[in-house]
């Protein structure tokens, strides 16, 4: 695999299989479906309410970012994998111009605050070029008092 722009701390291996995948037209108005799925999965995984809300916001932010990077008329895929300790999310769109999301933005800060791990990458091994964001939200164990 050729991961250009690969990043620090890759949290999700490439051969991982996902439990749930949602595909929507890569436009902002369809992201609510993905948000609802994210919240439902976190709720049923018995995450605490803060973690549920964080995952929902993180998925929203990641997918909104990708929509801005998507080639027009394409689909956004958002896949989820639930394990006892964490929910891993991989969101992918065909890239409009082959550039990854910037990391010096407020949006990136939002993402990295909300998720325990987040990475963005552009893969050029297939056609079309895809831009993807992986993120992981861990179950909250102890909260600093």
């Amino acid at each position: 695999m050729s991961e250009a722009e690969s990043t620090i701390n890759e949290p999700i291996s490439d051969d991982v299989s996902f439990d749930v995948e949602v595909r929507v037209a890569a436009t902002p108005q369809h992201l609510s479906a993905i948000r609802a799925v994210a919240a439902d999965l976190a709720m049923r995984a018995d995450f605490d309410l803060d973690a549920i809300a964080d995952l929902k916001l993180a998925v929203d932010e990641a997918c909104s970012t990708l929509v801005m990077h998507a080639a027009s008329g394409t689909e956004l895929s958002c896949a989820f994998r639930c394990t006892p300790d964490e929910i891993a999310v991989r969101a992918v769109v065909p890239s409009a111009d082959g550039t990854p999301p910037r990391r010096d933005t407020f949006s990136w800060r939002v993402l990295s605050t909300l998720a325990d791990f987040v990475t963005a990458s552009v893969s050029r091994d297939g056609t079309p070029t895809r831009v993807r964001i992986d993120l992981v939200k861990k179950r909250t164990t102890v909260v600093n008092a």
Binding site: A36, D40, L49, D50, L57, E61, R109, T140
Partner: protein
Amino acid sequence: MTGSEERLRDGATGQEGDDQSAELFAELRALEPDSARYGELRDELVTRFLPVAHRLARRFRNRGESMEDLEQVATLGLINAVDRFDPERGTDFLSFAVPTVLGELRRHFRDATWSMRVPRRLKELHLAISGAVGELSQRLGRAPTPSEIAAHLDLPREDVFAGLEVSLAQRSASLDEALQQGEQEGLSLGDTIGSDDPHLAAVDERESLHPLLECLPERERKILVLRFVHNLTQTQIAEQVGVSQMHVSRLLSKTLERLRQGLGRER
């Protein structure tokens, strides 16, 4: 006194009535709360100012709630005002009651209005869950999980899921904005935000974020800073700002969307 208060006063009792009310309040405060005369007087005072409460309720009539519900909420506010008014303070009852009733109406819109028809059972479930969340958060020092809420309320987890989903249907956007003004008391923004502006400024250099942040209502800005600069949890923020965690969640979601729109296609 503003014009609108004057009209309210005329509509209610008039000047003589006010003097009489002051006497009634003085008498009320001198009585034991469990005496029969206390109950009578309290009823009389509530009834006397009921037209004021209803008039205030009418101001909110175009917001999708029935007049009957609004009048009930306003009456509740009035009863609270009657119970808490201290005539020794030297202000007249109306100056105390009007903000109290308005506060009750605003709280009603903030906490309990819905953007779509939700079955009563679900509303009640949602209310029970909100209560449990507050209680458990305080006890645990963190947000509870759905199964902790279920255990606390002695309900099946599926019911808790249903109740939590309902919160998605709750109205938040336009009303929060409409009711923003006058709700700012009690938010001591300056202290927390001032010292953090440099951190935020470092991020927003390249994003022209600053003007957008300036445009945010004070409360939204505070919540954003507490979450993304201080890294507080939503539950901790809820405690500081004095709203529920679910409300913090909705406000954050709305604020982030607003920032995204404001930043446009910038990547």
